[in-house]
């Protein structure tokens, strides 16, 4: 796909103007644009991504249905990662009361993103969050920026915010068919965390089926099972985070396929 800017067409029609007779008023003209419908968001996302490059940090976009465990994962993961990484959180979901103090206590700054009544974050909202972040600290000192998206399995997948990786969470309480019902989210995710696995003994849910369904839609996905509550699986997730950072800082193809 080669998105074309309307400008090239306008130039061609302007030059033709001199030798072409006036078209009859009833004849509609046609501009063939082939423009990405979300071009406005894509441009802003690219701009955010350039900022991230300048600051030499890596950005994750965390997405899931409401209550799948994004905030608790951050609360449990970040203190342990903070020993080796400088991080900040852009909090897009202000409907749940994030225990910001807890993250702040271990040195994790949390910046809220004003979403209004939006059902997802878009690149412009994240750009607003980045401005607030800069008032608070020097982003160039960060290694990792985590964006907690609005709880929704549908549209956050379609709106890039400039992130390097999309992280999708699916809790075992949601049922093994959810990857099939919301395929776009799981198709676009680089890593899928199956969360709340401590609850498995109480649920008639098939963990293998969840995993199989995710990998049927997205065979390239990394799938990691975790419980933020008990800490089970968090180390595997942290290894994935470290690996993503290493890959970013030294993009050697041989390492990237490891």
């Amino acid at each position: 796909m080669t998105p074309q800017l309307p400008l090239s067409h306008l130039q061609s029609s302007a030059s033709a103007e001199t030798d072409t007779p006036l078209p009859a008023m009833h004849m509609p003209l046609e501009d063939n644009l082939s423009l990405n419908l979300l071009a406005a968001n894509t441009h802003q996302a690219d701009h955010n991504n350039e900022q991230f490059q300048r600051w030499d940090l890596i950005c994750f976009n965390l997405m899931s249905s409401p209550g799948a465990g994004k905030t608790l994962l951050l609360e449990r993961s970040l203190p342990s990662l903070a020993r080796e990484l400088n991080m900040a959180v852009l909090e897009g979901d202000m409907t749940t009361q994030l225990d910001a103090d807890r993250l702040e206590a271990v040195g994790i700054p949390v910046v809220p993103i004003t979403t209004g009544r939006a059902c997802h974050l878009d690149a412009a909202m994240v750009s607003g969050g980045l401005n607030l972040l800069q008032q608070r600290l020097d982003p160039a000192a960060l290694d990792l920026l985590l964006v907690e998206n609005v709880g929704n399995l549908v549209c956050p997948a379609e709106f890039d915010v400039g992130e390097h990786h999309k992280v999708a969470l699916l809790s075992v309480t949601e049922g093994d068919d959810k990857p099939l019902k919301y395929p776009l989210m799981f198709r676009n995710a680089d890593v899928v965390l199956i969360t709340k696995i401590d609850l498995l003994p109480h649920l008639p849910v098939d963990l293998d089926a969840i995993r199989r369904n995710i990998l049927s839609i997205n065979p390239d996905a990394t799938v990691i099972e975790v419980s933020a509550l008990t800490g089970e699986g968090l180390e595997a997730w942290h290894r994935w985070v470290r690996h993503a950072l290493v890959q970013r800082k030294s993009p050697i193809p041989a390492l990237a396929t490891a």
Binding site: P6, P28, L29, E30, D31, N32, P183, R187
Partner: protein, 132 residues
């Protein structure tokens, strides 16, 4: 509800399209979109949102028409194409292969704009990007 944001993006592109023209008197009749079946867009909702959003603007009276593009995958085992369906976990029916390559269905594209202009302008003649 994301159709509202999609419409916002669409209007930004249409405004840019108009501003880049020498002639700002373009009267848009129809905006043609290609929307893939493997996107989060509900075509009917997008049309409804568009009609509400353009009221009173320079686009008032224009129509949005949407061509839906089928969701087609390619089986990397036998190289055949297929319709991925949730009942089969989007896998290929021929070889039970997971969904690797998406041939079509992810389109979200402003294909073309039909408009009238009361100043001289030539009919656009660049080829339409064919839908598959």
């Amino acid at each position: 509800m994301h159709e509202v944001d999609m419409t916002k993006c669409l209007l930004i592109s249409l405004n840019e399209w108009r501003d880049r023209r020498d002639n700002t008197s373009a009267m848009v009749e129809t905006v043609h979109l290609d929307v893939g079946r493997f996107t989060c867009v509900e075509p009917d909702q997008l049309v409804t949102t568009y009609n509400a959003a353009v009221q009173g603007s320079w686009l008032d009276g224009s129509r949005l028409t949407i061509t839906e593009i089928p969701f087609i995958g390619r089986c990397l085992s036998c190289n055949g194409t297929y319709d991925p369906v949730p009942e089969n976990a989007y896998r290929s029916p021929c070889c039970d292969h997971p969904l690797e390559e998406i041939v079509s269905g992810r389109e979200l594209r402003i294909r073309s704009i039909d408009y009238r202009s009361d100043s001289a302008a030539a009919l656009e003649s660049s080829p339409i990007q064919r839908q598959r």
